[in-house]
Amino acid sequence: MNVLVCVKRVPQTGGRMVLAPDGRSIDTRFLGFTISPHEECGVEEAVRVVEAHGGMSAVLTLGPAEAEDQLRDAMAIGIDRAILLETSGGEWDPVSTAAAIAEAIQVQEAANGAFDLVIFGNEAADTGDYQVGIRVAVALGRPVINGIKGLTLTDGVAHARREAGGGGWETYALPLPAVIGVKEGLNLPRYPSVPGRLRAKRKEIERVALGGSPAGALGLGAGEDAAVEGTGVGAVPGPTMVGLRLPAEERTAATVIGHGADAAPAVVDLLLQLGLVH
């Protein structure tokens, strides 16, 4: 079973975000970086699939040279090899990102054999585009399902489940090769061991230089005619980020209704006042 997991390097945010002076990115001078949370579970799942079924696991990212750190994080918990589609400055829109990843997968498969399973996160933590994995699957002509929080592979079929709107789980069966978009909660990712980190540090990373201008790389400007159905090639790129802003701060001044256990009567009075107890 050969598995590829695609990940994205994102800043590790916690407090209110601060924008860079150009208003086109987050100020990350004081932030660390991580793999987008849904994809951390995708990495763990790729490792588990190969542990259970044998084969080879690979991790791929499209991002700056520094995204090497996230590829090594993935290898530290057991991913076998890594591919970096290296960009130089600026964001890539989801159409261009998907086109570059689909092409890279085809190149990888021609050299090393097909991936039975390609895993994406349901959506990236930062841009939240909800589409890259689906675009790649359509370009490759493979079945795809998003939002997956449970996965088992038997006899060439991926049995996947996702939360149903009204509670419970929807089940899906996809013949392999397939593309699966996963959500956090699929598993609890392991922590890397020290030997794992050391091994990952020494591993080769396969680098593909993509350059800095996605629209230029595709040879297409916005507004040109749409592509041939199903190929995902020659698609109109976009949306194009113009700038970022922080939402208006909705600060409240919390009313302190008490301290410690002595606050209990005041809390119950509040619950009565809000009509939540009778």
């Binding site: 945010t13 916690g14 407090g15 975000m17 987050i26 949370p37 989801p94 959506e123 841009t127 939240g128 585009d129 909800y130 689906i134 675009r135 359509v138 795809v144 399902i145 998003n146 939002g147 996702r162 939360e163 149903a164 709107g165 509670g167 419970g168 789980w169 929807e170 089940t171 069966a173 959500k183 909660g185 609890l188 507004g223 749409a226 041939v228 159905e229 190929t231 995902g232 976009g238 194009t240 980020m241 700038g243 802003r245 922080l246 409240t252 919390a254 009313t255 302190v256 209704i257 008490g258 301290h259 410690g260 256990a261 606050a263 809390v267 119950v268 509040l270 619950l271 939540l276 107890v277």
Partner: protein, 336 residues
């Protein structure tokens, strides 16, 4: 003028279950109405799928929609993303729509992404507003709404999903407006379009009131200290007929199942009251609970970020405060 300019129909993808239109679709209709009003000659049309589709269109008299494209194929009663996208695409073609609006649900985003990929069109997810002009400028959410992006979207047909709870939904019901004209059509779906579909429904392991339906949610963070520490939160939630949730920290530590996580990578809740216990208030958590009508924070640190979104606060150790609230509730219930 750029391709896809003013005047053409704005097509809204409406999800329904058993004839009842879902809330996020009603929000998508509310989002579409001013777009149509801003473009001369534009009007809102809807597309509804499945055997109950015509009935659900009948509940949208006040939606401002002039026309419903109905694919009454019973195979569409089961969710199948490719088939749903093919049907949506067929409606897009027959209406000559210049904009397609989908609800920002799991299904809405997924179906729209399939349509976008098949047609080679860009798609903007979780849009909160649009300034319609020849060249479109829109605002969309990043980081689940912690950050906003101004973006341009230029394409022959513009595909957007609407950020959940960014606009108030329209009212569904019989209404006083003119009836929505339902046009049934055959979307020419192929068997292969149904290869990926819901094969079955498994019951959830959880019992009791769900986090998304509960009127009171008691949430715990790192300050709860352990899995066992959630017992006191369960007790309080039980007395209030509520549900217990947690921050990402507590699900990552395995203190609670992931299905209880409130936040960017978990659930968005909207209870009448959210009681945040020992939660510092990282923005990834705040985006999951800020739709609560009221927030009560119980925390030892009066300067923790949760205080900036809370309406009420109790300063103190939740291990003392939470059992005391439960005891007081019992005492008053016994006295009544």
């Amino acid at each position: 003028m750029a391709a896809g300019g003013a005047g053409g129909p704005i097509l809204v993808f409406v999800e329904q279950v058993g004839g009842e239109v879902d809330r996020l679709s009603l929000e998508a209709l509310a989002f579409a109405a001013p777009l149509a009003a801003a473009a001369a000659g534009a009007r809102v049309e809807i597309v509804v799928l499945g055997s109950e589709a015509a009935a659900s269109a009948g509940t949208l008299r006040d939606s401002g929609a002039a026309l419903a494209h109905v694919v009454a194929d019973a195979r569409l009663d089961t969710y199948a993303p490719v088939a749903w996208a093919a049907a949506l695409g067929a409606a897009m073609d027959r209406s000559s729509a210049v904009v397609v609006v989908a609800p920002g649900s799991d299904r809405g985003n997924e179906v729209l992404a399939h349509l976008a990929a098949r047609r080679g069109l860009p798609m903007a997810a979780h849009v909160v507003s649009v300034a319609p002009a020849a060249s479109w400028r829109l605002v969309r959410q990043r980081w689940a709404g912690s950050l906003l992006e101004d973006a341009a979207l230029d394409a022959p047909v513009r595909l957007v999903s609407v950020a959940p709870h960014a606009v108030a939904p329209i009212e569904a019901g019989a209404g006083a407006g003119p009836p929505v004209e339902a046009q049934l059509f055959d979307a020419d779906l192929h068997d292969a379009d149904f290869d990926v579909r819901v094969g079955g429904i498994e019951a959830s392991e959880a019992d009791g009131v769900s986090l998304t339906d509960a009127k009171v949610v008691v949430g715990g963070g790192r300050g709860v200290g352990s899995a066992a520490g959630f017992g006191q939160l369960e007790e309080l939630a039980g007395l209030l007929g509520g549900a217990v949730g947690g921050s990402r920290v507590v699900t990552s530590l395995g203190w609670r199942p992931h299905s209880d996580q409130i936040g960017q990578t978990g659930l968005r809740i909207a209870p009448d009251l959210y009681i945040a216990c020992g939660i510092s208030g990282a923005i990834q958590h705040i985006v999951g609970c800020k739709a609560a009508k009221r927030i009560l924070a119980i925390n030892t640190d009066p300067d923790s970020p949760i205080m900036s979104v809370a309406d009420y606060a109790v300063i103190g150790d939740l291990g003392a405060v939470v059992p005391a609230i439960s005891a007081e509730l019992r005492r008053r219930a016994g006295a009544a």
